[in-house]
Subunit: 324 residues, 2 copies
């Protein structure tokens, strides 16, 4: 652990992020950096169609968090939300396993309408963010469709069907990112990686293989990042062997990955220059350091704005130290 430094961070920061957990650190970074310093790349492999609408859970979680309109307590969706369309839809279709709030539905309607008009997810995401008052640059990883598919002991599922409808109950045998081989990494993401002012790349505390891996797997993204020559730092989403949010730990177990900070560090492997993980996992410090990755132990649980901003500063300070 270190004292947080008060110097402003110089240069630009690129963050790869999934939804809820990642969005917290993104929010902390957005409050710590200038709007022109931060670019967020969102995973879109969880995206799916529901009620004929295009739903982008990670993009929306990040957008809503940055706009300050997310429901912190529930952990997803919008605060001050209502559910009247869903109740009426249940009456018509009998289907209500995926909860969409009345205000949230507007986002999906607007996005679906513009997608069918031929607009790109990149442009639509930027416009929604702008309309909601978000100044941080948020980019979908791709404008092409990538869809996480879960193969389990009970059959195949679209990710949200497995995650929400089946409550992660089926035992996962493997996952696949349908479309990953042909989807192109967003040109704007490529530009951000190539930006001469880029000073740090951060892998947010999202699920490493469900949220971060799809981004890294697009074209030669992993190599582009690795060869960029700026510090790459991951923040562990695992604390004391448990995923803070989401099915990471259960999935890692079923896919025979260690459910530990060490497991996360190993998963990212030589991509990382630095790794931030929780003080509660201090026992793993030596084994992770022995893989050649620089480490920071920190309280990584983000329960309020102060803890998000604190973790953001820790990561940025770490990046500055690594750059020296």
């Amino acid at each position: 652990m270190q004292d947080s430094q008060t110097q402003a961070f110089a240069g630009k920061v690129l963050v790869l992020s999934g939804g809820v957990g990642g969005a917290k650190l993104v929010h902390g970074l957005a409050n710590t950096l200038g709007a022109d310093q931060l670019t967020v790349v969102a995973n879109t492999a969880d995206d799916f169609d529901h009620w004929g609408l295009r739903i982008c859970p990670d993009i929306d979680s990040i957008t809503y968090a940055l706009a300050g309109i997310n429901d912190e307590k529930r952990g997803w969706g919008l605060k001050d939300e209502s559910w009247r369309t869903m109740v009426a839809m249940r009456r018509l279709s009998g289907e209500d396993w995926f909860q969409l709030g009345d205000q949230d539905i507007a986002t999906h309607l607007y996005r679906s309408m513009r997608l069918s008009n031929g607009d790109s997810l990149t442009d639509i995401t930027a416009d929604i963010a702008q309309r909601l008052g978000v100044t941080t640059r948020l980019l979908p990883m791709s404008d092409d469709v990538v869809a996480t598919r879960v193969y389990s002991d009970r059959g195949e599922y679209e990710f949200q069907h497995y995650f929400v409808r089946e409550r992660c109950e089926p035992k996962v045998e493997r996952i696949e990112f349908i479309g990953i081989d042909t989807a192109r990494l967003s040109p704007l993401v490529k530009d951000s990686i190539a930006d001469p002012e880029l000073s740090a790349i951060i892998l947010s505390p999202s699920n490493p293989f469900l949220s971060i891996d799809p981004i890294l797997s697009l074209e030669d993204c992993r190599k582009l990042l690795k060869n960029r020559g700026v510090p790459i730092i991951a923040v562990s989403p695992i604390i004391s062997g448990r995923a803070v949010k989401g099915p990471a730990a259960k999935l890692m177990e079923e896919l025979n990955m260690p459910t530990s900070a060490h497991g996360v560090a190993e998963y990212y492997g030589d991509l990382l220059d630095g790794f931030v993980f929780d003080e509660l996992d201090a026992a793993e410090l030596d084994v992770i350091r022995n893989t050649g990755i620089d480490c920071r132990l920190e309280q990584t649980l983000m329960t309020d704005m102060a803890s998000k901003e604190h973790l953001a500063r820790v990561v940025l300070d770490f990046a500055r130290d690594l750059k020296r």
Copy 2:
């Protein structure tokens, strides 16, 4: 005027109807007849796409009225409605000229989803009605798209754009039903016309050329009805030269049609055996009778359930008299 008779009507009744005004008489008929006696054919030429959703204003007005969940006071949509999706959509798109309530949106979402799955509007309409507890048989006039187009002094409009967004302000030069020449009359409507038990055909007090004419213009519908050999009765939507609801009178004026009960009777011409119009227009009785159409003068303004049922009984009694 005549006293309402209390005998039950024998045989089946086919009603052609537009939205709000027509839906009132339909509701009265549904309360007066057995569920197996009444078939309602709804105009779909006002249907349009909005926010990527398929909106069928006349089908929905009739369905909601029959389900007893329509907002009588507002005159359209659902009662106990809320508008949170619309407010959120306004923030995103800046567009809110067509008001869609949160519960109502579920209907459009459900319909759009099923249409894109390849289901027919006929099947979807029946399923929505059934889910909302409606027992009356409601048929879209066609499963093919017909779209009313308004040509005005300010240019061309989709009907709802002219009607709602432009508040009927542009001066109409002509209207056209795009697709009417190739669209097929619903086979189930044809079956209903051919039904040996059919005893009356009613043109509800909807706009004659915007709501009823599209139905009559499908294939040889007008001829099928005319040659069927059962009484055809229209109820005038015009009272004292004013449309009870909607832009009928203004349109009729701009299209050089008489804005009167007589004008409505003339418009339908030799299709009609009987014509029901308002006591306030008693001065027109002779001129209409002279065209060879049997007439009933009645209080045709439907302000509550009792007046809807009363007018329904008047029309059914009239049909029985004409059949003798």
